[in-house]
């Protein structure tokens, strides 16, 4: 039963990575940039939820809703102020700007919220579920997280496959100039992708803090990097790739922690990334890029 518990925990952690990785991969797909500030949006989302519940006394679901709205706006504002002016700049400039935004968000949180960790479990805590006469214990958080990830994936697949805006998004990812010739407003499409990615990051932030309830200004960086790894593992730019990469990474991490070594878990995770990229440089579901002249 221990294996099963670990598997469920791994899938739960992986679901958080997957939801974050969606933001990385969608933004990369359309804006061809790595938004390294994405991890810190998670942290902002978790803080917004924490503050609205513990200081404003709102119910938990209202806190989550506020955090989604807040992060969506944050995503739009950051894109507009920091990245849009660099739309035609070399990609290194954009990358450095993203790292700058990441430090800005972390330090802003440090000034506003202080450096002492906030305990998330003081505001929301879900019970553990006991199954099979107590032989299998799983947390309600894990179930909720996996469920949320599945719902988000289905919704996003429908959005990109069926709706006009979703198709426009795919068109922009493939060929920005051609999309413009169709009458698609590329700037507002990019803005929308940042909004969706950041809104999802808020959900991921809350879910992550339910499982690992210590909230600090640097809370977002490590999961951000892991989710980026997941996006690359699955094939950056691919939405199903982000989901697959995220879940795989979470399972590998939990199993490495349980059966190899707690300290080596991260090394194992990144080691797996290196091996997979050696075999499939475009990631698991990524398409090899043929540059045409």
């Amino acid at each position: 039963m221990e294996v099963l518990t670990n598997l469920i925990n791994g899938m739960s952690l992986g679901s958080v990575y997957a939801i974050i990785a969606l933001g990385y991969t969608m933004v990369y797909g359309i804006a061809k940039m790595l938004n390294f500030a994405h991890g810190d949006v998670i942290m902002v989302g978790a803080y917004i939820c924490f503050c609205s519940v513990s200081y404003l006394g709102l119910p938990a679901f209202a806190g989550v809703a506020l955090s989604v709205v807040g992060c969506t706006l944050l995503g739009i504002i950051v894109e507009r102020l920091a990245y849009k002016p660099l739309r035609n700049a070399p990609s290194l400039n954009v990358l450095i700007t993203a790292i700058g935004v990441s430090y800005f968000l972390q330090n802003a949180a440090l000034i506003i919220m202080g450096s002492d960790p906030k305990s998330f479990s003081s505001i929301i805590s879900l019970p553990a579920l006991s199954l099979f006469d107590g032989k299998l214990t799983i947390s309600a958080t894990a179930v909720l997280t996996i469920f949320a990830c599945v719902v988000i994936m289905v919704a996003l697949t429908m959005f990109t496959g069926k709706t006009k805006m979703g198709k426009a998004m795919r068109a922009c990812s493939e060929d920005r100039d051609a999309a413009q010739l169709m009458g698609i407003n590329v700037n507002s499409t990019i803005s929308m992708v940042f909004a969706i990615g950041s809104g999802l990051a808020a959900i991921a932030g809350v879910l992550m803090c339910l499982a690992y309830p210590t909230l600090m200004p640097t809370t977002g960086s490590m999961p951000g990097i892991k989710a980026f790894t997941a996006a690359v593992l699955g094939g950056i730019g691919s939405i199903p790739g982000a989901a697959l990469g995220g879940v795989l990474l979470g399972i590998i991490e939990i199993f490495a922690r349980a059966y190899i070594s707690t300290q080596l878990a991260d090394a194992v995770v990144f080691g797996v990334l290196i091996v997979i990229l050696l075999i499939r440089p475009a990631g698991l579901l990524g398409k090899p890029v043929n540059e045409k002249v």
């Binding site: 493939e174 010739l181 169709m182």
Partner: protein
């Protein structure tokens, strides 16, 4: 219908268009011919708003296009089918056509789709196929069909015959003539000067960013300089 006056376009420090002026009247097929790098594609990209001219004016049906964003220009009926087709490779044929009709109201899309499928039955057969798996000729048909989905008043075609077998080139030119007969005005950029001028009402010859010669299609076909430079003597 379209009047372009004294446009100058730069790529960074390089000037690609040097004071080009020309006109397209309602109902015409106007051909822009010239060698590689003469500025034909640059001219079209400037008209559709992907590039900007530093001077002059571009007027289309009483609308000033100089500062209009590309996505608005399409709405006014000036539609650009770009060089190299630029179809969305990973989307299906029908999704590509849907994207072409992005600016259109929902009820006109169904009509347009029917019309495009009537014009290109091949696309209807392959509507669910991923566009990247189509042959070169089919991809060109898709690119043109996608342009038609936007209800163009003036259709700008950039090198529609590029890379196609001779039999397909003829087919594409037949389609262009059919579209013209059905009432679409056409601005045609071609390296295949012979074919382009033979269907064109009027033509302009571009050389290193300047218009060097103009006349009716037949005049240009008989012109000695044009024959020497573009028609193989």
């Amino acid at each position: 219908m379209l009047s372009v006056y004294n446009i100058n376009v730069w790529y960074g420090a390089i000037q690609a268009i040097k004071g080009v002026s020309f006109e397209v009247n309602d109902g015409e097929i106007v051909a822009l011919i010239g060698a590689n790098g003469a500025g034909k594609s640059t001219t079209l990209k400037t008209l559709s708003g992907l590039l900007r001219s530093r001077t002059g004016s571009i007027t289309f049906m009483d609308q000033d296009l100089m500062h209009m964003p590309a996505e608005k220009i399409v709405e006014h009926g000036l539609v650009h089918v770009p060089e190299g087709r630029r179809i969305f490779q990973q989307m299906t044929v029908e999704e590509n056509l849907d994207m072409g009709a992005y600016t259109q109201a929902k009820d006109t899309i169904a009509d347009n789709l029917e019309r495009v499928y009537a014009q290109f039955p091949r696309l209807k057969e392959r509507r669910r196929q991923i566009a990247g798996t189509l042959s070169g000729g089919e991809q060109q048909m898709l690119a043109m069909g996608r342009g038609l989905m936007a209800n163009p008043k003036l259709l700008m075609l950039d090198e529609p015959s590029m890379g196609l077998a001779p039999i397909l080139v003829e087919q594409i030119f037949e389609i262009i003539e059919a579209l013209h007969k059905a009432g679409t005005t056409i601005l045609l950029v071609e390296q295949n000067a012979q074919m382009a001028l033979s269907i064109a009402t009027r033509g302009y010859v571009l050389e290193t960013g300047r218009v060097t010669l103009t006349g009716t299609g037949q005049e240009l076909l008989r012109n000695d300089d044009v024959r020497k430079a573009y028609l193989g003597g």
